[in-house]
Symmetry: C2
Subunit: 204 residues, 2 copies
DNA sequence: TGTACATCAGTGAACGCGCGTTCACTGATGTAC
DNA sequence: TGTACATCAGTGAACGCGCGTTCACTGATGTAC
């Protein structure tokens, strides 16, 4: 049965939403096309009316995930004004490493969610969409950091690495050692706060 | 045909070695029992003479991988003496984030290799072996860091997070943006070096 | 020391199952007249 | 405005394939005598 164009667009979006949720939670390989179509309220056969392949959807999910993260960073950056431009960054660190975020069903950060799959999978399409996303993310994070362009970018890269490593570790330890997982979140939050000019202790 | 006990032990080791290589490279799910038995020079049917299940081998590979990493850290720690105990740590950072290491076929660090799989898979056996390994790794890294126990442990956790995040990112970008991958490695190496007392610039 | 035999790791066919993808079919939609 | 018809997203059975695991069988080993 032919559907109206708005209905078709809605269904496509439902599939992408379901895939975003499931891929973040279980990775690309452990989610089948049938799983995600069922989650979207459809049957598996129709999948190929919307996407060329499962790989194409993986790339699309990557793009959307990074777009969402970058939009959040941009909004934060617009909200915080000089002279305390890094207030936004301090809030971001606390938010990024919150227990609530670690305990979310799927990894909330596209790099934490997909880095492992992307490093190992041979699909150029996904690797390309992912790399494009990381580039945009680092550019957006650099804009929240003080200093000349090169310094800000370097600091952004280091902060991102620390955040991603800490969340990756904390999530991987949820099942096996919850106390250590908490300890990692807290230690890194504390350390990053200490190394960020915090407004209250900055020279007047 | 029955085999001598030494031959059986050799074969078991061959299977574990093959699995270590292949799991690090492609993750647990993308390596089949038949793949790894072939790589070990055997046929797939014999697998269950050595292991209860594929999951049991995954846990065993985790244990071996962490044991190897921790042994390296311990050796380094024994080699470097006060008053420059952190010389070992500086070398470790340079080594951990070297291009050669990033370009190795499989992830050389068990946390970079397995964190994603462990976070998502439901197998308690693997999660347990992994958590045990991370505990030992952080304890060993803490021993290379100056300061009282609590401070050293906190710094070890932060350094580990940064290293793991940077290597994870760099490996995930190899295919999609090699220049950015290099940039991340260099920025984090530089930043970590600057934040580690480096012996030459320490107060006399 | 020599012989008969139970043991058990290795082999490869076979098991049921779930995967990504294809396909003939359906029927509401949107267009042509 | 009303009618006939081409379109095409959704359905669910079916495709070939690879997976983890099982199993009957083989035959060198190590033991009992």
């Amino acid at each position: 049965m032919k559907l109206s164009v708005t209905r078709v667009a809605e269904n496509r979006q439902k599939v992408i939403d379901a895939a975003s949720r499931l891929f973040r939670k279980s990775g690309f390989d452990r989610v089948s096309v049938a799983d995600l179509m069922r989650d979207a309220g459809l049957t598996h056969g129709g999948f190929y009316n919307h996407f060329d392949s499962k790989t194409a959807l993986e790339a699309e999910v990557c793009r959307r995930a990074f777009a969402h993260s970058v939009a959040g960073l941009d909004g934060m950056n617009r909200a915080s004004e000089r002279p305390d431009r890094e207030a936004g960054l301090r809030g971001y660190v606390a938010h990024y490493l919150s227990r609530k975020r670690r305990d979310a069903d799927g990894a909330p950060c596209p790099m934490v969610a997909f880095a492992g799959d992307v490093a190992r999978a041979p699909e150029a399409m996904v690797a390309g969409a992912y790399a494009e996303g990381v580039r945009a993310y680092i550019a957006a994070l650099s804009a929240t950091v003080d200093g000349d362009d090169a310094t800000a970018r370097e600091r952004a890269i280091c902060t991102a690495s620390t955040l991603i490593g800490a969340l990756t570790l904390a999530r991987s330890l949820r099942a096996g050692d919850a106390a250590l997982s908490d300890e990692i979140l807290e230690a890194v939050r504390k350390n990053l706060r200490a190394n960020l000019p915090d407004g209250t202790s900055s020279p007047v």
